[in-house]
């Protein structure tokens, strides 16, 4: 009797233990799958930086704020709504920022350094965690505060987006002023990516076309015409020295230069034997070799980032379309079939996609094609968009909008965020330089 009682208790205990064990795995951890993300922009506020309580000559926090906002990836906060501009995380009133929906806060200050410039210290504060996530210190010369602002933007951008920011990069473009043939001036201009601090590196009464940045950003290749002689030439100009060198010149077409990724070769179009073909000029040897030999026009080459492929425009199919071939000129494949014409291709920095101008019933618009899937996405509105150029981090495309008021436009890769770089006069053929850092 006692024995059976004991066994019954034992059985009971075992049952309870088993039940407990079966209940345990559920207690281990709640498993939650996250498959969606918010498509909203990252909320961030950059409070004004001050130097010893004084305003800086350049509003670097405003520069950084505009940089981030232009990408469309960040939602920045109007300074007028900021109730405080703390210099250190200890001074932050987190509730106040959180109440405004500010998830991320950048605060900082500047101090004079020994070199006569400024040492800028800033913190990235996570408002939800109520703590500084990271802090940075940058030194800037007295006349480099603008770049300091872009640098701050780059650092924040990279932290949030995971890619380098292009806020220190430069662009080149051509402006045309004057209405008549006599007083028209063509200028090749280099500016900050946002169009600020423009400087003319070459000007002429005759047309200037097709600027192209060397991979290192120290030189620009472009096409210059001599209307009087009836010739055109492909030139390479050193930006710091201003010295220029002509790699191809003569009657007919000498145009559309494109740098190889290693910066040692330039592919360009040249008319020969009655039609235009692609050639490659070796900067080191001064030798030129012909890539294509078709009876049609082959032009506007773009080198893939790995240097093994070239995409170009050809009308060998009757209309201008994009084709790809290897760097030796073989294995030509047609890339584009949509629209009545597709031209002016530019490789993305990662080599996975190209951007180009597509002509369709809606006019000329900027398209982006994924080279793996051949999916095409139209990212501009038209109807007269031209000369797309990838940002050096591949996250945006710069192009010339020639309808209405002439301007350069910046569009994010998904086509959602657009910003316009205002310039005086007619602006053509932008080219986006390297990151700049």
């Amino acid at each position: 009797m006692i024995k059976t009682k004991r066994t019954s208790w034992l059985a009971r205990f075992c049952l309870i233990a088993v039940a407990a064990c079966m209940a345990l795995p559920a207690q281990a951890a709640l498993e939650v799958d996250i498959t969606q993300s918010s498509d909203q922009a990252i909320p961030i506020a950059i409070a004004p930086f001050k130097a010893n309580g004084q305003r800086l000559p350049v509003d670097i926090s405003d520069i950084a704020s505009r940089d981030l906002a232009s990408t469309g990836l960040f939602r920045t906060f109007d300074r007028a709504n900021m109730t405080e501009s703390p210099a250190t995380p200890e001074d932050v009133n987190y509730q106040s920022w959180a109440a405004q929906g500010v998830d991320n806060l950048v605060i900082g200050s500047a101090a004079r350094n020994a070199a006569g410039g400024y040492r800028i210290t800033f913190y990235l504060v996570d408002v939800a965690r109520q703590q500084a996530v990271t802090s940075f210190q940058i030194n800037a010369g007295g006349n480099q505060l603008r770049d300091a602002g872009h640098t701050i933007a780059n650092l924040i951008y990279e932290r949030f987006v995971g890619k380098k920011g292009y806020f220190l990069s430069n662009i080149a473009y051509v402006t045309v002023t004057g209405n008549t043939a006599n007083n028209r001036t063509f200028r090749l201009v280099v500016a900050d990516y946002d169009g600020s601090q423009p400087s003319t590196i070459y000007s002429s009464k005759d047309p200037v076309m097709s600027p192209a940045w060397s991979p290192s950003g120290d030189r620009i290749a472009y096409v210059a015409f001599d209307v009087y002689k009836g010739t055109s030439s492909v030139r390479i100009q050193n930006l710091s020295s201003g010295q220029a060198r002509t790699i191809s010149a003569g009657h007919g077409v000498n145009g559309a230069p494109a740098w190889s990724p290693n910066g040692q070769e330039i592919a360009f179009a040249k008319s020969a034997d009655g039609d235009t073909d692609l050639f490659v000029y070796n900067l080191a040897t001064g030798q030129t070799r012909q890539l294509t030999r078709s009876g049609a026009i082959d032009t506007e080459p773009s080198w893939s980032p790995n240097g093994r492929e070239i995409v170009f425009t050809s009308d060998r199919g009757g209309q201008p379309q994009l084709y790809r071939m290897n760097a030796e000129g073989g294995g030509i494949q047609r890339l584009t079939y949509d629209g009545s014409s597709n031209q002016r291709a530019d490789f993305a920095p990662d080599g996975k996609s190209i951007t180009y101008v597509q002509k369709s019933g809606n006019g000329f618009r900027i398209a982006v094609m994924d080279l793996e899937t051949n999916n095409v996405r139209i990212v501009s509105d038209g109807p007269q968009d031209d000369s797309p150029a990838f940002a050096p981090n591949g996250q945006a495309v710069l192009y010339a909008r020639q309808s209405g008021r002439n301007a350069l436009s910046l569009v994010s890769l998904d086509g959602n965020a657009k910003s316009t770089l205002s310039q005086a006069g007619e602006v053509r053929e932008p080219a986006w330089g390297p990151l700049g850092y």
Partner: protein, 421 residues
């Protein structure tokens, strides 16, 4: 007072029965009294004699019978002496006449005397007869009265016995009802407690439930056995009480009987004997009845216990079902809880652009209020910016949603970010 009312309400049947029996007895008593009254009145007056019993033939018959039976000595001498002295003073002429007249008168007198005697005799006989009748009637009346008395006594006795029985029965019933009620309450309480305990063990497995059921059945069996034992003990007690009550009643009756004996010695012994027998019989009956009732009560209790067991079985089944429903509800609640966490984190996750094939695991420790205590990226999402974005998504979701019920809370949460799958 309320208590009494309550008791009456509880045993209204017994009360009603008692009232009815009493009423019946009272009616019986009244009726019998009414029936006997004329006889007792007749005991004092002669109305009956005068009224209708005697006809002249009867009287004659009776007189003849009386004459035949015994000569009436008192009829002749006294009335004959006064008329004899009157005829001596009359004339001789007239003497014959007188004598003749006398003779005639004597004759007439004699005749009258004879008639008177006859009448007297008849009267005597009638009186005798009436006396006899009276006597007989008185005798009958006495007998009737005696009988009525006996009957009354017997009835009183019966009534008392009935009362005793009734009371015993009522008491038994009361006790039984109380017992039943207690048993029922106990069973109910037990069932409730059991159900509660089972609900508390909401996630109990089937085996465990079965085990519990077994244990419960055993416990119930034991409880039943216990209850049965208690019932039997109670029955025994009741029996004893009934016996005691019966004994007391018998004692009272015996005393009454003794008093009655003092008044009526003649019937005493027989009556005592009869009463003793009756008492014994009543006692035996009461015992038998008590026993039968105890048996009935036991059966009723058993039935009640069975019913209670069935009820608890049903409740247990319902509890099991509700436990199953609870488990299902928990499952739904858990799914809802997970969905709530998911929704909040997804709303707060701003995925860096351009990142493809994102997949990573993030381990989060939360405090009971949903406060994020620790975030650890177990496997990188593909870059520091992505890792930061998921971390921030979780920190921004602080406090994490609360579970619908506390038992669903788990301090460890494993997030799997896989937007591209």
């Amino acid at each position: 007072m309320l208590d009494l009312l309550e008791k009456i309400g509880e045993h209204w049947r017994a009360v009603l029965l008692a009232v009815l029996v009493h009423g019946a007895l009272a009616a019986g008593l009244l009726f019998s009294l009414d029936f006997l009254q004329p006889a007792s009145r007749g005991n004092q007056g002669e109305s009956i004699v005068e009224a209708s019993v005697m006809s002249s033939e009867d009287i004659d018959a009776m007189a003849a019978q009386n004459n035949a039976e015994s000569t009436p000595p008192t009829s002749q001498p006294e009335p004959s002496t006064p008329p004899a002295s009157a005829p001596t003073e009359a004339a001789k002429q007239q003497q014959a006449k007188r004598e003749q007249a006398e003779a005639e008168a004597q004759r007439a007198e004699r005749q009258a005397q004879a008639e008177a005697a006859k009448r007297e005799r008849a009267e005597q006989a009638a009186a005798d007869k009436a006396r006899a009748q009276e006597k007989a009637q008185a005798e009958a009346k006495r007998e009737a009265a005696e009988k009525a008395r006996q009957k009354r006594q017997a009835e009183a006795k019966q009534e008392r016995e009935a009362e005793a029985r009734q009371e015993a029965k009522a008491e038994q019933e009361k006790a039984r009802a109380a017992k039943e009620k207690a048993a029922k309450e106990k069973a109910q309480a037990e069932a409730q407690e059991k159900a509660k305990a089972e609900q508390a063990e909401a996630k109990a497995e089937k085996e465990r439930a079965a085990e519990a059921a077994e244990a419960k059945a055993k416990a119930q069996k034991q409880a039943q056995a216990k209850r049965q034992a208690a019932a039997e003990a109670a029955a025994q007690k009741e029996k004893e009480q009934a016996e005691k009550a019966a004994r007391e009643k018998a004692e009272a009756e015996r005393k009454a009987r003794e008093q009655a004996e003092a008044k009526a010695k003649a019937q005493a012994e027989a009556k005592a004997k009869a009463k003793a027998e009756a008492a014994a019989k009543a006692k035996a009956e009461a015992q038998a009845k008590a026993k039968a009732e105890a048996e009935a009560a036991r059966r009723a209790r058993e039935e009640a216990a069975r019913k209670a067991a069935a009820q608890s079985q049903l409740e247990k089944a319902m509890a099991e079902e509700s436990a199953g429903r609870q488990a299902a509800a928990d499952q739904r609640a858990l799914a809802g809880y997970i969905q709530a966490i998911r929704n909040k984190v997804e709303a707060n996750w701003i995925r860096p652009p351009g990142a493809t094939d994102v997949t990573c695991k993030v381990h989060v420790k939360q405090l009971p209020g949903g406060q994020v205590a620790n975030v650890r990226v177990v496997s990188s999402c593909g870059g520091p910016a992505l890792d930061r974005s998921v971390e921030q998504a979780i920190y921004k979701s602080d406090p994490l949603p609360s579970p619908p019920s506390g038992n669903l809370f788990q301090s460890d949460i494993e997030f799997t970010f896989r937007p591209d799958s």
